[in-house]
């Protein structure tokens, strides 16, 4: 078993290794952000960089200062450390993206399952709902909601899941339709299993595995959209660290403060790129039709 695993890993292409490694590094950053950048005051922690995302002495710190040994990525428009804000921003983005994907997946799976399982009127009704949401100028709708409601992760989560569950729902629905007529399900039904049991024991597990292929892509696109929204000023509340917020500052100051654009932009790009590459590697691995290629 174990040696099989090693052999399997050895077969993986280099790019998968690199992208997988990068994904791991980012997850590490997200989990250990408080140890990477924090005010030295907090006891028991010896952070890499002595600044928290919000710590600044406005009288001493230079605003929009170029990178130095003290501020390795420079300072932002009110003199905060860009490295600290970037690390915590990445943490926020990654956690939030996981949250969004999880919620989308749960809603999508349950609804799609119900639609595929029961079919008929339920299917027709929710298909309409899907069509309604799918045909909305969704970005405009998101901007509207974010502009008019209070800024915060709750509203952001709502706005992002608004249309995000649809692909999962569509996929699970199709899987259920396919599986419903398969022999093992028919057999279970003939043996007198309850509907609930068939739903959760037979159909759900079988349609879930392929669903996980979506996850890295969805994470990556959620992070991109979140970045774009906070870039436009519709994301997190004003003082919360985020990658998009740094890029927003870069837009105003792009002639005098390149470090505001280059580091956040570079890290955002690296994060989404590695997620997407890792995702396609995962898909190639799990998708049985492509294994023999």
């Amino acid at each position: 078993m174990f040696s099989n695993g090693i052999k399997f890993l050895k077969r993986l292409p280099t790019l998968t290794w690199i992208s997988g490694g990068l994904v791991l590094i980012f997850i590490f950053i997200a989990l250990f952000a408080p140890w990477l950048a924090n005010e030295s005051k907090s006891s028991g922690i010896f952070p890499l960089v002595k600044f928290g995302p919000e710590s600044v002495d406005i009288f001493k710190s230079e605003f929009l200062a170029a990178p130095t040994a003290e501020h390795i990525f420079g300072t932002d428009y009110v003199g905060r450390d860009v490295f600290a804000r970037l690390v915590h921003g990445l943490k926020n983005s990654i956690f939030f993206a996981f949250g969004v994907v999880a919620v989308c997946m749960i809603i999508g799976t349950l609804l799609g399952g119900a639609m595929g399982f029961f079919g008929g009127k339920i299917d027709l009704f929710f298909s309409r709902i899907m069509e309604i949401i799918g045909n909305f100028p969704i970005f405009l709708l998101q901007l509207t909601l974010l502009a008019f409601l209070d800024q915060g992760y709750g509203v952001l989560l709502f706005v992002m899941t608004l249309a995000g569950w649809i692909p999962y729902c569509r996929f699970v629905r199709a899987e259920f339709f396919r599986l419903r007529n398969q022999e093992f399900v028919q057999a279970a039904a003939a043996l007198g299993s309850s509907k609930l049991r068939i739903f959760f024991k037979h159909l759900l597990p079988n349609s879930l595995t392929p669903l996980f292929i979506f996850v890295p892509f969805d994470l990556s696109s959620t992070i991109i959209v979140l970045g774009a929204l906070s870039f436009l000023g519709f994301g997190e509340p004003v003082n919360v660290a985020s990658v998009g917020e740094l890029l927003k500052q870069a837009k105003e100051h792009f002639r005098e403060a390149w470090w505001l654009a280059v580091f956040p932009g570079g890290f955002l790009f690296l994060l989404t790129l590695s997620l997407a590459l890792f995702g396609s590697a995962l898909r190639d691995l799990l998708d049985p039709r492509q294994v023999n290629n």
Binding site: V56, D57, I58, F59, F63, Y77, V78, G79, A147, F148, D150, Q151, G233, P237, V238, N239, K248, Q249, E252, H253, R255, E256
Partner: protein, 560 residues
């Protein structure tokens, strides 16, 4: 509504750098003005002037318009009864030849100049004047914001085709401004059909120095010179309006507008502070453009943080003063505004004759802030480092309109400064309309925003206790009987010197009570092509673009 929100009195404090570059010989303003408008330069009248609009105007109807973009265009198309001379700030006739105020101050008679016509050749009479004011007061007309303003106008009476009488309900020192600066509109055009939907709202017809030519939706508006303008025969007006065509380019992104300026597609604009001091502060720009910064006595307005005086937290005067001492305005001015801001001392601009001259801006002083808080009964909790009183910590929320990066920076800096002293402030931003709604419902702890400047400003609407109940603009709920009395008296005092004395006393009360934390006065910033002459700010009025001209040989566009 010419100039209601536009600065009028002006004190020039041009950034020395740009100033020297356009007059090598001397730095004194009056000399500079005379040099720049020296008569040896021959104006040519066939050049164009291209300016920038940041958005498509909603309408070009002077009464219905609500945005500054429409005002920028409409000002050239219509005339008002009077105007204020830019050099002396004295009222003088425009459409009106003369006017008289009755002894009781409640009736105003205006006599029009004979022979004035609208752009379509129709004569302008007092019927048009009456129509204009009746329209403003007509509740079916979509101009609710003006109806409130003209509430004290009782009626307009036509005495003869050239003589009109206004009946007013009360004596008020701004009555002449209110009546004299309204754009007069032709009755035979706008009086036909539904005013709100009139076709002329998009193809305006007035009597002004320029005639509407075209409005390419979302792209540009063009005006051409009115060949039959009555002002050509009027001594004070005849040397103005020197461009054959005015083009207003609509560019919705400010940074692109700046690029367009540098490329020469736009001749003049008001840049942001950042643009002015960083991207425009280059020798290449200096070669092609004038660049000024100036302050005005009526001001562009000022920013402030208002404390909700209905809350127990902000009841104490000491607390409010402490909050003002805790704001590092000098630091903010230096670090984010390139030292371009004047620290506000009160509701009137520092250079205004209405402001008490002895008032000094409140400096940053954390020790004093702490002492004041302790005097008001607050004590630092050693465990948290935050001030507490009766077991409650000093914590509040600052609310402001989203989307302005400079406001965000000010709020973040203030948050840090308060934290150092031992006060917790949370920041919350809302989209503008939502913010206004919240403000009108008094649902805030503290709010940050700004008031625009106005000609001969009256503080009544903002500070009188009668305006604190939802109808006025006294959102913070400031109630002070002494201040009320002073403002009521000032409104009916027609002698400006006596009035200013009253306002001096009022300013002192405001400074003592500190109901607002006054932030910065907004300066006027300007860049414009060196092709133009006569462009320097004249002593009293800001930039009178009506007086600009292109000297012979410098013209860029040549009208055939």
């Amino acid at each position: 509504m010419r100039n209601f929100y536009r600065s009028f009195f002006i004190l020039i404090s041009i950034s020395s750098l740009s100033f020297i570059s356009c007059n090598r010989s001397n730095n004194s303003t009056s000399d500079a003005t005379s040099e720049m408008s020296a008569t040896n330069l021959q104006p040519v009248k066939n050049d164009w002037m291209v300016s920038w609009l940041a958005a498509n105007p909603t309408t070009l109807n002077p009464i219905l318009k609500t945005d500054a973009y429409a005002s920028a265009v409409v000002d050239w198309l219509f005339d008002s009864l009077i105007r204020f001379d830019p050099k002396t700030a004295q009222p003088e006739g425009r459409l009106a030849e003369s006017w008289e105020v009755s002894k009781d101050g409640l009736t105003y008679d205006f006599t029009l100049r004979p022979g004035i016509t609208f752009h379509d050749g129709h004569p302008l009479t007092t019927e048009d004047v009456k129509f204009t004011f009746d329209t403003i007061k007509n509740p079916k007309v979509d101009a609710a914001h003006l109806q409130n303003y003209f509430a004290s106008l009782k009626s307009v009476e036509v005495l003869s085709p050239l003589k009109v009488r206004f009946h007013l309900k009360e004596i008020y020192y701004r009555n002449l401004i209110m009546l004299g600066l309204v754009d007069i509109m032709p009755k035979h055009i706008y009086g036909v059909g539904d005013f709100n939907k009139n076709a002329a709202n998009r193809k305006p017809i007035g009597s002004g120095p320029y005639v509407f030519k075209s409005w390419d939706n979302g792209q540009s508006v063009e005006l051409v010179r009115n060949k039959n303008y009555f002002g050509n025969q009027v001594e004070k007006l005849k040397n103005l309006y020197n461009f054959e065509r005015l083009v207003f380019r609509i560019i919705t992104e400010p940074s692109v507008a700046l690029m367009a300026l540098k490329k020469g597609d736009i001749d003049a604009m008001e840049p942001t502070t950042r643009q002015y001091y960083s991207e425009l502060a280059t020798p290449e720009v200096e070669k092609k453009f004038y660049r000024f910064r100036y302050d005005t006595a009526d001001g562009n307005g000022h920013g402030f943080i208002g404390w909700n005086l209905r809350l127990p937290l902000f009841q104490s005067k000491e607390v409010r003063q402490a909050l003002a001492y805790a704001m590092p305005r000098e630091e903010i001015n230096k670090k984010i505004y390139f030292n371009s801001r004047t620290l506000a001392v009160g509701t009137f601009p520092k250079v205004s004759p209405k402001s008490e001259p002895s008032l000094q801006p409140i400096p940053y002083d954390s020790a004093k802030a702490k002492a004041l808080l302790e005097k008001a009964g607050w004590k630092i909790n050693p465990a948290t480092g935050i001030f507490e009183k009766d077991g409650k910590k000093f914590s509040f929320e600052l609310l402001f309109g989203a989307g302005n990066s400079d406001s965000e920076r000010v709020a973040l800096i203030y948050q840090q400064a308060l934290k150092q002293i031992g006060i917790e402030m949370n920041i919350r931003t809302l989209e503008w309309t939502v913010f206004v709604k919240q403000m009108q419902a008094f649902k805030f702890d503290a709010l940050m925003m700004g008031w625009g400047g106005a000609l001969d400003m009256d503080p009544y609407q903002i500070w009188h206790s009668s305006q604190a109940n939802g109808e006025g603009s006294n959102f913070i709920g400031f109630k002070n009987p002494e201040a009320d009395k002073l403002m009521e008296q000032a409104r009916v005092t027609l002698d400006p010197n006596k009035r200013n004395k009253l306002y001096h006393q009022f300013s002192k009360i405001l400074a003592e009570e500190a109901p607002y934390l006054f932030l910065f006065e907004v300066p006027s910033l300007f860049v414009g092509s060196k092709r133009f002459q006569g462009i320097l700010p004249v002593p009293l009025m800001g930039l009178d673009s009506a007086a600009w001209f292109t000297p012979k040989g410098m013209e860029k566009y040549k009208e055939q």
